[in-house]
Symmetry: C2
Subunit: 896 residues, 2 copies
């Protein structure tokens, strides 16, 4: 049987989005529901794809089917396409599976030529209207189908308008419009070397082809990449009988939402313009009525429309975004679709609709994009103020969107001064070439951080994300001069104390202040309700990554059910501990090292006490020291510089001797590829006493809190295991310490020992590892690095983003788990681990733990929990619930 | 049924090595064959293991079985254990599955006490002999079973000996021996606070236990680690009726081989000492007869022994190493086993035995350890001269055995001078703190290379291995001072021009010259014969890694059947090309880069022309550029130093500006983890033109050679692919270039495009990759690095060797493939790759390609070829044949 390329509106329905596009399915559904939809038909997305694969040729049979559909449409309207006596005009519009507003092309009034325009004039009794329609056809067709620059038409039009008294569109006379038509045709001929086609079928055919072509237009391609939409969907083409809102005051056109898309309030929201076509509303030359004012202006039309709108919302069980036209008092529905809305509105509407009995809790949970929850949790710029700033030219640069949220404050170029000015009550944005552990104090008292260098895992980015601090990193266009306390970009200089604004969600850097809108999670009642429904539904536990008691507390407020990753290295980075840490690293004997470890023990213990208290009753997973030792030592390159300088000047030989000694130590610890060097469990195995001290601190803290009545659940995590023996030996040594401490303290606490699965070999041999691990926590960051052989520090700056841009990688695998590759390792390890130890606890604590797509994968693969940064906890709760619902529905993939 | 812990010699046979140990199985087999073996029995290795797992207690039933076996032995000998009238004496000896010479303990003459010694004296009519035996028992028992320091006994013995006229053992009188016995007992009592046991069963029981314990003695553990033998084999204990070679001139003891173990010549080889026990031969106080001299000295005994020896060789079908004792004219066989032999002898014997019809070609091939072939291919020190050097104290240090072979020459501390002195005809050993590409010239004209820093993959090591140049790397004990042209170690100074010797096979560094023994492959007829048999048997192809025509030629002579890896980066390292390479990297535009690429094109083409010519008729696999770009740029740290110094002094501002600019470029290319940064196919994708230039050079060279009649087979290999799109895009671009060139040249050549599988993700997604690859070559070095998360540059120096030493890893996974982890990835990729493309060509080109254990794995997993450095080709040919034989035999693992 021949392929069916064309569907009349009364042949489709809402479930045929993939084939008919969103608009086509909507028109079909409305037609089916008996609503007033102008007759017409849809050319399928498959036809579009076939057009491309046939090398830009309509697939066999398609045009014939278009012709028959036109015949049907003529029959239904009683008009004839190209018939001068009673001409049928049609619109030709794109319609992809999801709405891509303004990204693709539309041609209106197809069917006009010198004869039919006369017929239209006679039939409508409105010659002005007929020629107005004709000139619109020529300019749209020229622009859209033939790439004639739109300005050429606009110039002519503006010139005529300038000659009228009112200066408006409606002030143009019929003669003027006729002259415009003539001039447009002349432009068309001049630009293209051919006449504007009088053959209405040629118009139709070329318009359909133009819509097909627009699928791979620049705008559409960019939009799809930004929204992660696939290229292989194609677009449908809707051919629809023209109805006219520009046939006098009893005519008009409007767009409306069934609820307020900004707030979610339940009332009609939209605009209506009498005696106009759709493009006039968009053009903004006349001010439209608010849709509710229509009630007074034209109660008949209003009530007609209100009824249809309410019916549509009930029918679709979602807030609708509608386009309609009134032609001489008769309402025609041209489009309906689920309306776009702000995050806040989306959540309110979903919760309201559950309360109205319109949708279920599951549906409400499914309707919210996790990114909408995320957006609600960060301060953002007032959009209007931001747009104004952009139009003022205040956008200085765009860097990496390293940590979301918006911040405004005075630029300060030094951590010390940032703290001072912040304490003095100023809002500060810390600006640095890049940050180091010494800057943490300054960062945490600032509103936001801006760095010139560094990627998404740079120190600045990591600290900022962990502290919910907006951060733009690696804004390489700015040049920071810390000595002069200023940065410059394209000759423009921003001095310390000047106001700047940064948007960590987008990476934008502005000069000047932009007002921000803050969020108070506790007061977001609708969100709390929605998330409580998510909690009822989800199976995955949601843990958090928290290194400090305050983070633990905050995460708990946001719904975290445990700590999946408590890193212990920050405890080594703190300034007052550095001498002991450096001493520990430089120690020449085990005894000497032990002296420094003894200094560190009470400090670490105190850290853990606070965390256990904050997580009373919930599990706390503590990872033993992980980074390579040189991270705790001074920078090698700076030392080389200092030593060279001191040698050169000959001054201060004592300092030189000291620095030379330090340099030797640093060189001894220096590694070519530190990410794969002496770190993780290797430190525990090679530097006796360090992890024993940590374990002692953990269990002393646990026992002491337990004695105070805190319900403690300790999980000790051994990182970077590649071979089962590493785990076995470390665990045996540490469990011995744990038992020793519990015996000393005279109390037992609930504890587990486990490992991170973060090297490919760890994943491959998980069955072996499970013999010695009561839990696995997947460290998907490192696992991704080593599986791809991508050093994140290097790759993101050097090629990874380019890879994504060029489509070499479908996504940044550090943001969303690479399910094909890394995911396969995770799935293998889950299976093998469980085979060895059926009750093994399985979680994930990489950054992917907060990414919705990855969460779906982790749900499917059967993990017990995901752990993410505190501020991703609400997002993760929602995503986990959505994953559970989809599983129940048996969906095989997530169709966003 | 109770476990059988004890086997009489007539209950076992040669196939029971695992249970009875090598010696026990040998004694049993000889007993079975009716040869004269003194009656006795073997306590099994299982008993030893049971002893350990029961916490150092004999397993249940064992001792009773020993007692019954003793009864049987008494019956067979007609003697009684502890019977003063006719005392039975026994030896108690260890006997593991494989021989561990001198590593474990032996006690002789068990069964003597004040009564039985009298009986022995009477029965033998030789009181001197009886007390000599008794004093031997006390000292051996004291030393071996009770850890009494042997010197205590030796001092007494030496003192008595000094009092005699002759000063020899046999000069001691009976009374002296009685006094010695008394003094030995006093020492025993003083040291241990207990009397020497008179209870002969206590003697036996403690002696057996001592043998068990010696399995975990330091010496034995060290030996096993060095020889990669497992700890869980345990040792058997052989209890054997004593026979006495020290009962007069018609008695004696000897050890002999059926063929010469140094040369393989077919004649008896060994030593015989009349009127002596075995330990006297070892002690070296008397000079034994060469075994062939026995023919004149005692033709009866000689002919008896010769017949037995020949019979044993025929029986075992291998050269035998035998111990025997003659007691009053009667021959007793105490041990037989396959004899150790030099590499050269092993090969000659194997080939001879095939020619004698004694063994098959397969057996000959199986008998040779691949390491023996390797040893034959490198010059080595004359062992005696080396031992003398060690005893002189000339061993200065031991570094990493980075590239095998021995070299002697004058130490030179600079590459330039090394070339000059070498051209002047001197043998040079280049000594450097570490080497860089600038040193290659000096290295290649030297006899060997010694570096203070750097591991097994340091520049020095890699270049040396690739050029068969002996190299000791990372000899951290020496301190090289290039300015003073000397190195020092423990205060000892070696100046330029002083003679030194290095052994790259062991890592030893000597002062002074040690004569070396060279090898000429072409003249090793036996080896050639053996390898030709291996070639008939093996299924795996043996390719080579060769970057230069001369390497290709050499490898071909050694039997290589193709090039599996031709690296192209050396072509970028060569001095005269550096400006173009640096220019290419620093280029700001694609056009600028193209200019430099155009300069490089003819140079690369010339490189390839030579290689295609050398490999006429064989495949040549060329890997496109792989290392990160910064490797081609100056050293970052040196630049920082230089810039700092220039800034400080203020002189030469032009030079400073130039260096600052260079430093900026270096910084821009600098990577935190270069191993996982912008390298491999990523360079091709991110730096347009580079791999296109390489492909053009390859195909221009191929076409031009083809026109000259060379049979060219090009395989272009795209490295470091993680995602199928990387491969697809690179391949499409490069195949386009290839076709272009062939069209230009007007000739087609045979070619393939393929990829390296060297990232874990590459292996996991091999099924996808195979769609775009006609071949896979496993890059197991990188695959090992990324699977474990071990950066080889860092790990080997910092923890890996320690890991192996401590048993955390069973072996260095960079030397022998980690079959459990990395091997699983290889197996997956093979399976998935073949599923997608059944005729895909599969090979491996990592260093593991030359490692015999790994070769067995690659055979099993079904690869088509392994590729290794030219000098490993013969080794690989042999190992591949052995793998094929074992497969045929259905062996599931390789039992060395």
């Amino acid at each position: 049987m021949a392929t069916k390329w064309v569907y009349l509106f009364d042949e489709g329905n809402r479930d045929m989005r993939e084939l008919l596009g969103g608009k086509g399915a909507g028109l079909a559904e409305m037609t089916k529901a008996g609503l007033p939809v102008p007759p017409g038909f849809t050319v399928t997305t498959e036809a579009c794809l076939a057009y491309y694969s046939a090398g830009h040729t309509f697939p066999e049979g398609m045009w014939d089917q278009v012709l028959s559909a036109m015949k049907e449409t003529e029959k239904k309207t009683g008009k004839g396409f190209g018939d001068p006596k009673n001409p049928l005009l049609v619109s030709v519009r794109s319609g992809a599976r999801v709405s891509m507003p303004g990204m693709m092309d539309t041609v209106l009034n197809v069917g006009l030529n010198p004869e039919t325009v006369q017929g239209l004039a006679e039939l409508s009794g409105n010659e002005r209207f007929a020629y107005d329609s004709y000139r619109r056809l020529i300019s749209m067709f020229g622009r859209v189908v033939k790439d004639v620059p739109g300005e050429l038409f606009d110039e002519v039009f503006d010139a005529y308008r300038a000659r009228t008294e009112g200066g408006g569109d409606t002030d143009l006379t019929v003669d003027m419009l006729k002259e415009i038509v003539a001039e447009y045709k002349a432009i068309y001929k001049r630009e293209l070397g051919q006449d504007f086609p009088d053959d209405v079928y040629q118009q139709l055919s070329e318009a359909i082809e133009a819509v097909f072509m627009s699928w791979f237009g620049n705008k559409a391609v960019t939009y799809r990449r930004l929204n992660k939409l696939p290229d292989d969907w194609g677009t449908a083409v809707n051919v629809c009988t023209m109805v006219f809102g520009n046939m006098g005051e009893e005519s008009g056109t409007g767009v409306a939402f069934t609820r307020d898309p900004s707030t979610g309030e339940k009332h009609l929201f939209g605009e209506y313009l009498a005696n106009a076509q759709g493009e006039d509303v968009v053009a903004g030359t006349r001010t439209p009525l608010h849709i509710e004012e229509l009630q007074r202006a034209n109660p008949t039309i209003y009530s007609q429309f209100l009824e249809v709108a309410q019916g549509l919302e009930r029918h679709y069980r979602d807030m609708q975004d509608m386009e309609f036209t009134v032609e001489r008092g008769k309402l025609w529905m041209l489009q309906t679709r689920s309306g776009k809305r702000t995050a806040r509105a989306a959540i309110k509407i979903a919760v309201d609709m559950v309360n109205e009995g319109l949708i279920t809790k599951e549906e409400a949970v499914q309707r919210i994009e996790p990114s909408q929850v995320d957006a609600m949790l960060h301060p953002s710029f007032d959009q209007k103020a931001k747009d104004e700033a952009i139009s003022r030219g205040d956008l200085l640069a765009t860097g990496l969107n390293a940590s979301p949220g918006a911040a405004t404050g005075v630029a300060v170029f030094d951590s010390e001064r940032a703290m001072q000015r912040a304490q003095a009550g100023e809002d500060v944005v810390l600006v640095r070439p890049e940050t180091s552990p010494d800057d943490v104090g300054g960062m945490l008292t600032s509103r936001g951080v801006l760095t010139q260098h560094g990627g998404a895992t740079s120190h600045a980015a990591v600290v900022a994300r962990g502290n919910n601090l907006p951060c733009v990193a690696g804004a390489e266009d700015i040049s920071v001069d810390t000595e002069r306390r200023q940065f410059s970009v394209d000759g423009r200089v921003v001095k310390e104390g000047d106001l700047i604004s940064i948007d960590g969600t987008t990476g934008e850097v502005f000069v000047g202040a932009i007002p921000t809108i803050d969020v108070d999670f506790a007061r977001e009642q609708n969100l709390a309700t929605l998330l409580s429904w998510a909690d009822e539904i989800r199976r995955l536990g949601i843990y958090t990554n928290a290194d400090y008691p305050r983070d633990a507390k905050r995460a708990r407020e946001l719904g975290a059910e445990g700590i999946g990753l408590c890193r212990t290295e920050h405890m080594f980075f703190e300034e007052e501990r550095r001498p002991a840490v450096v001493g520990m690293i430089m120690a020449r004997t085990d005894e000497e090292r032990q002296k420094y470890l003894d200094e560190l023990l009470p400090l670490q213990r105190a850290d853990f006490e606070g965390i256990f208290e904050a997580m009373d009753g919930l599990p706390v997973t503590i990872r033993l020291i992980d980074p390579p030792m040189h991270e705790f030592l001074p920078d090698r390159e700076e030392l080389i510089e200092e030593v060279t300088r001191l040698r050169c000047t000959g001054e201060n030989p004592e300092l030189l001797a000291d620095r030379e000694r330090m340099l030797r130590v640093v060189e001894a610890h220096w590694e070519t590829n530190p990410m794969m060097g002496l770190r993780g469990c290797r430190v525990g195995l090679m530097m006796p006493g360090v992890t024993e001290m940590q374990t002692r601190a953990i269990f002393e803290a646990a026992c002491r809190q337990a004695k105070k009545g805190v319900d403690v659940h300790v999980e000790v995590m051994i990182p970077l295991v590649s071979h089962v023996n590493e785990l076995r030996i470390e665990r045996e040594a540490l469990e011995r310490v744990a038992k020793e401490v519990m015996a000393e303290e005279g109390i037992e606490v609930d504890y587990k020992f486990g490992t991170m699965i973060e090297t490919p070999r760890g994943a491959i041999t998980a069955g072996e590892l499970a013999k010695h691990a009561e839990f696995f926590s997947f460290g998907t960051n490192d696992l991704t690095q080593m599986s791809f052989g991508f050093s994140r520090d290097d790759a993101e700056g050097k090629f990874l983003l380019d890879y994504v841009e060029r489509g070499i990688l479908p996504q940044n695998p550090f943001q969303s788990l690479d399910q094909t590759g890394v995911g396969k390792l995770v799935a293998m390890a889950v299976k093998d681990g469980r085979e060895t130890r059926p009750d093994i606890e399985l979680g994930i604590c990489g950054e992917h733990g907060g990414d919705p797509d990855s969460i779906h994968f982790f749900h499917k693969v059967g993990l017990a929990y995901v752990s993410c940064s505190p501020f991703r906890v609400p997002v993760a709760r929602l995503a986990a619930a959505q994953a559970a619902i989809e599983e129940k529905q048996g969906a095989t993939f997530r169709d966003k």
